[in-house]
Amino acid sequence: MARGKPRVTFSWKRTTAGTAPPHGYNRSPEEQCAGFATRKPSVQTRANSRLREGRSNRPYSVSFLSRPRNPRCTEMTRPPYRLAPSVHWCTLHGFSVILDEENDKYLSIPARQFEALLPYVTSEPSPDTTQHCELPVELIPLTNELLARRILAPDGIENAPRDNRRMPKPERLISTADALVPIGHALRYGPIFIKACTVADCCLRFRAFRKTTSRIRSRKRTIPAPSLEKLVYLSRIFAILRPLYPRSYLCLFDCLALLEFLAYWRQFPSWVFGVAIDPFDAHCWVQHDGVVFCDTHRFGARWYSQILVI
C-alpha cells in the first residue's frame, strides 16, 4: 500500500558467520544456518503497471528468457539496464528474492514491483550504438536504489553470462542416522577432513563470498559428473567426523567443508542455495541429482526454492 511519495527502505544485516553459540545456549540448525542477511528489506514504490502477481501457493522461478516484453522497448531500442551477473533471483509467493553474491546479501521486493522493472532489464551485453528505451517515472526510485546497490548496472557493460541452472527436487537425505561406517574407519580420513574444514573456515573468515563461489565454479568446469555411490560413502564419513571440528553447524560452513572434502577425491556435486518466504529464510545444501548430502535434521532442502546452483 503506497502512501504519498514513494518510499524505499532497505535494511541489511549480515549474521556473523563462524561464532560459536554462547555457553549453554543451543540454537536450532535453522537459526544457525543463515550466513546472509535475514532481515526483510521492503521496497515500497508506486507501480502503475501491474504485471503478473504470484497468486499460486507454489514457489516458482522466472528466467529472463520468459519475461514479458514491454511495448516501449522495440527492435530499435533496448532495455536500459542489466542485472549484474553476480545477482540471482527467484519469485515465490508474491515476492522476488534477490541474492547478491558480490555483497553477500539478500533482498526481497514485492514481486509486482520487480516484475514491472523486468522489461527494462536485460541479461545480455549490447553494442553501444543501440538506443535504450525509456524507463517509466514510477520505476525510477526503485531503479536508483538497485543501481546504488549495484544490483543493476547500466547496459553496455561487458559481463559474464548468468548461470540459471536448477537442480531436481530433493527426494532423499543422507544423514548420520543411516551411517554404517565405524568411527575407527572414519578416523583414517581425519587429516583430509581437518584440512577441508580449515580451508572452508578460512574462506568464510578471510575471503569474499564471491571469490569462494567463483573458485567452486571454476573447479567444476572440467571435471566429469560425480559418482553417487562415492558421494554417499564420503558424505557419511564426513558426517561422522564433523563433530570433531570445533565449529557449530552453519549451513554455509558445512557445505563448503563438505565440498572441499569431496574435492580431494575429485567429486564435485552441486552447491545449492535456497530461500523461503513467509517466513523468510535462507539455506544452502549439497546435492547431486535428487540426493541431498548436507542438511539439517528436518530435511529443510525440500522447503526452499532454489535461487542459485553452483
Binding site: A20, H23, G24, H93, P243, P279
Partner: protein
C-alpha cells in the same frame, strides 16, 4: 471436557451465601435439563453438567468433603478406574489433595472442603486436560471450566492489556493471569486454597522432586517401562469409547498410539484420519498410509483448509475464553471435516499423538553429556555421551565437553528459557509489558539448581504442553484428546535421563527402540518433521483483507497495544516476516479476534480498562 461450576465462600459471609444461592438457582432454572447439583453444603456448592465425554464422571467424597469432576485411575499396573466409594476422602482432604496426586492419576479438578469447613481447596491435575478458572465476586469464589457457563452471572470483566501485550511479545506464555483482569487460571498441577485471609496459590505437583529423587538409569528397564506404561494409559482411556477417530500425521507419536491400539486388540474400534496440504513439501501422507496399513485400519485423507476467507469467517466463531489462543485459530479450520468424519463413523472420541515430543523427547540440545557427567561419579561412557550430544545438537565435541564440565562444577548457567518470537516489534512502545522476571518465571525452575540442564529443558517444554490445550467448546464434536498426556507417562519420562531418551544422538531414540515392532520402519527411521508453513502462508495472505481491517483499525490498536505502522508492511504484502515473527504475528491475529469476540458479547461483557 467436563462442565462444572463450583461456588465457595466463607461460612460467615452472609452476602456471599445469598449470592451463591442466587447463582445456583439461576443455573438450575436456566439450564435445568443440563445442570445438576452435585454438592450443596454451607460454604460450598458444586453443579455439573452431564458429561458428553464417556470417560468423564463426577465423584462425590464421603461426608460431603468435596467433589472431583473428571476421571480417576489407580496408579497400578492395570490403571483401574476408581469409584467414589473407594476414595479415601479424609486422607485426600487432610493432605490438601496431595494424596490424589500420589496415588491416582487421570483428568480431574478436585474441589475439597476442609474438615472444619474453614478452608476450601481446588486442585487441577497435572495433565491440564480439564480447564479451571476462577473469579472472585465480592467474597464468592466461582470456579469453572467454560466462561460461557457464567453468562447468567452478574460478571463484568475488563480486558487485561498487560497480559495481551505479554501474550504477543512472549511465546509461550503460561501464567495465572488471563486476558481478563477478573479471572485467574489454575495452571496444570496448581492448587488454590481459600481461607478467611484470602486465596493462596501453590504448585502442588512438583516435577522437580520426581527428577531429583527418582531416576531410572538402566536403559533396558526404562525402555520396558516406557512400552508397558504407554500401552497401559492408552488402554485405560480406550475402554470408555466405542469408536476412536485417531488423527495421525505420519509422525512417530501418533504412529505409536496407533501401534499400541493395534497391539491391545482395539484396531477394529479405530478409524484414522490424516490432514495434508496438496502439492507441497508438507505432505506426509505416505507415512500416514504406511502406519494405517501396518495397523490394518482405514485411513481418510482430509485436505487442510487453506482458504483465507474461510479462516477469517471461522475466527469470528471461536467461542470466548479467558485467554486468547493461537492453536485454536488453526484447529478451528479442521473442525467441520473432523466432526463430519466422527459422525459418519460413529466415533465418540478424537485422539491425537500430541505429547510425544515432550515425553519421548524431541530435542536438539547437547545437554545429554552434561546430565551424564552430573549423575555419574565414574563417567566411563562420557566420550560416547559427548559424541552423541554433539551429533544431536550439531555442535562440536569440544563445546559439548566444555559445557558438561562447566555444569559439573556448577559454573554453568541454567539453560535459557526458550521463548519464541520477536513480538515486541509489533507492540506500541508504551505497551511493552512491565512483567518482572519473577512473575514470568517458570514455577518449576524455582529452586531447581540441582536439576540437570537437560531435564530443566524438558520441564520447560512440559510446562507448555500441559497448559496449552483448551477445548473449543460447543464446536468440537467430539472433543480432541491426547492419551499420551497422562501423569504416569509424564512422570516416567522425567525419571528417565535425557541421555537414555536421546541415545545414539537421535531425538526420541528410546521411543523408536521401544516401539520398533509397532511402527513402520519408514517412520522409525524418519528424522524430519512435517510442517504447516504452506497452509499458514495461504491463510495469512488469503485472509489479508479481513486481517488488515480488523488489526489495523481494531481493538488492540485503539487500546494502544499494537503499533499499526509495524504491521502495515507485512499485512499489505509489502514485506515478508521472519521465523521469529511468525508466532507473534498470529498472536496478534488471535488476540484481536479474541478481543473483538469479547467486546461483541452482551454478557459477560468486556470493557477496556480506561
Amino acid at each position: 471436557m467436563h462442565h462444572y461450576i463450583a461456588l465457595a465462600w466463607a461460612t460467615n459471609d452472609m452476602r456471599a451465601a445469598r449470592e451463591a444461592r442466587r447463582v445456583r438457582e439461576t443455573l438450575l432454572q436456566s439450564r435445568g435439563l443440563c445442570w445438576r447439583t452435585v454438592l450443596d453444603v454451607d460454604g460450598l456448592s458444586v453443579c455439573a453438567k452431564s458429561p458428553v465425554d464417556a470417560a468423564m464422571c463426577t465423584y462425590v467424597l464421603a461426608d460431603n468433603l468435596g467433589v472431583i469432576v473428571g476421571r480417576l485411575f489407580i496408579q497400578d499396573q492395570a490403571s483401574t478406574p476408581v469409584r467414589s466409594a473407594e476414595l479415601p476422602s479424609a486422607k485426600i482432604v487432610e493432605t490438601n489433595g496431595n494424596w490424589l496426586l500420589e496415588h491416582y492419576w487421570g483428568r480431574y479438578v478436585a474441589v475439597l472442603r476442609g474438615p472444619k469447613g474453614d478452608r476450601y481447596s481446588v486442585l487441577r491435575d497435572c495433565s491440564g486436560q480439564i480447564p479451571c478458572f476462577y473469579a472472585n465476586l465480592n467474597g464468592l469464589y466461582v470456579f469453572f471450566a467454560d466462561v460461557c457457563d457464567l453468562e447468567h452471572l452478574d460478571l463484568r470483566v475488563t480486558l487485561n492489556e498487560r497480559y495481551l501485550a505479554a501474550f504477543i511479545s512472549r511465546q509461550p506464555l503460561h501464567v495465572r493471569e488471563t486476558g481478563l483482569r477478573e479471572i485467574t487460571e489454575l495452571l496444570a498441577g496448581d492448587c488454590v486454597t481459600i481461607e478467611a485471609t484470602g486465596a493462596c496459590h501453590t504448585h502442588m505437583w512438583n516435577p522437580r522432586s520426581i527428577v531429583a529423587n527418582r531416576t531410572m538409569d538402566n536403559y533396558v528397564q526404562a525402555r520396558t517401562a516406557l512400552t508397558g506404561l504407554t500401552e497401559n494409559v492408552i488402554a485405560a482411556w480406550a475402554r470408555f469409547y466405542r469408536r476412536i477417530l485417531l488423527s495421525i500425521s505420519g509422525g512417530l507419536d501418533s504412529a505409536i498410539v496407533l501401534g499400541c491400539l493395534k497391539r491391545l486388540g482395539l484396531a477394529d474400534r479405530v478409524v484414522c484420519v490424516t490432514q495434508y496440504t496438496v502439492d507441497t513439501s508438507d505432505d506426509e501422507r505416505l507415512y500416514a498410509r504406511s502406519a494405517a496399513r501396518m495397523a490394518g485400519v482405514s485411513l481418510t485423507e482430509l485436505p487442510r483448509v487453506s482458504d483465507g476467507v474461510l479462516f477469517a469467517e471461522k475466527l469470528r466463531r471461536v467461542p470466548p475464553d479467558p485467554k486468547p489462543d493461537i492453536s485454536k485459530t488453526n484447529r478451528i479450520l479442521a473442525l467441520d471435516g473432523l466432526n463430519a468424519l466422527a459422525e459418519e463413523f460413529g466415533c465418540d472420541a478424537l485422539w491425537t499423538g500430541q505429547g510425544g515430543d515432550q515425553i519421548f523427547l524431541q530435542a536438539h540440545h547437547g545437554y545429554g553429556a552434561a546430565d551424564y557427567l552430573l549423575q555419574h561419579r565414574h563417567p566411563w561412557r562420557l566420550p560416547n555421551m559427548i559424541y552423541e550430544s554433539a551429533l544431536l545438537s550439531r555442535n562440536s565435541v569440544w563445546s559439548i565437553l566444555s559445557q558438561a564440565i562447566c555444569y559439573r562444577f556448577r559454573k554453568g548457567r541454567a539453560p535459557p528459557v526458550v521463548l519464541g518470537g520477536r513480538g515486541a516489534r509489533f507492540l506500541a512502545k508504551s505497551a511493552i509489558p512491565a512483567y518482572s522476571e519473577d512473575s514470568l518465571a517458570i514455577p518449576w525452575r524455582v529452586g531447581a539448581e540441582r536439576i540437570p540442564p537437560g531435564k530443566l529443558d524438558q520441564l520447560d517444554i512440559l510446562l507448555d504442553l500441559l497448559n496449552r490445550h483448551k477445548p473449543i467448546v460447543g464446536l468440537e464434536r467430539p472433543y480432541e484428546q491426547h492419551p499420551l498426556i497422562s501423569q504416569p507417562l509424564i512422570e516416567l519420562s522425567l525419571q528417565i535421563p535425557t541421555y537414555h531418551l536421546l541415545r545414539g544422538g537421535r531425538q526420541r531414540a528410546m521411543a523408536r527402540d521401544a516401539f520398533v515392532d509397532r511402527v513402520p520402519p519408514s517412520i522409525i527411521m524418519r528424522e524430519d518433521k512435517g510442517g504447516i508453513n504452506d497452509q499458514v502462508r495461504s491463510l495469512l495472505r488469503g485472509s489479508a483483507p479481513y486481517i488488515i481491517e480488523s488489526l489495523m483499525d481494531g481493538s488492540l490498536v485503539s487500546l494502544g497495544i499494537l503499533d499499526r505502522s509495524s504491521l502495515e508492511g507485512i499485512l499489505c504484502h509489502e514485506e515478508t516476516f521472519t521465523k521469529d515473527e511468525q508466532f507473534p504475528l498470529f498472536a496478534c491475529i488471535a488476540a484481536e479476534a479474541w478481543a473483538q469476540n469479547w467486546r461483541s458479547k452482551p454478557a459477560p461483557s468486556a470493557a477496556a480498562h480506561n
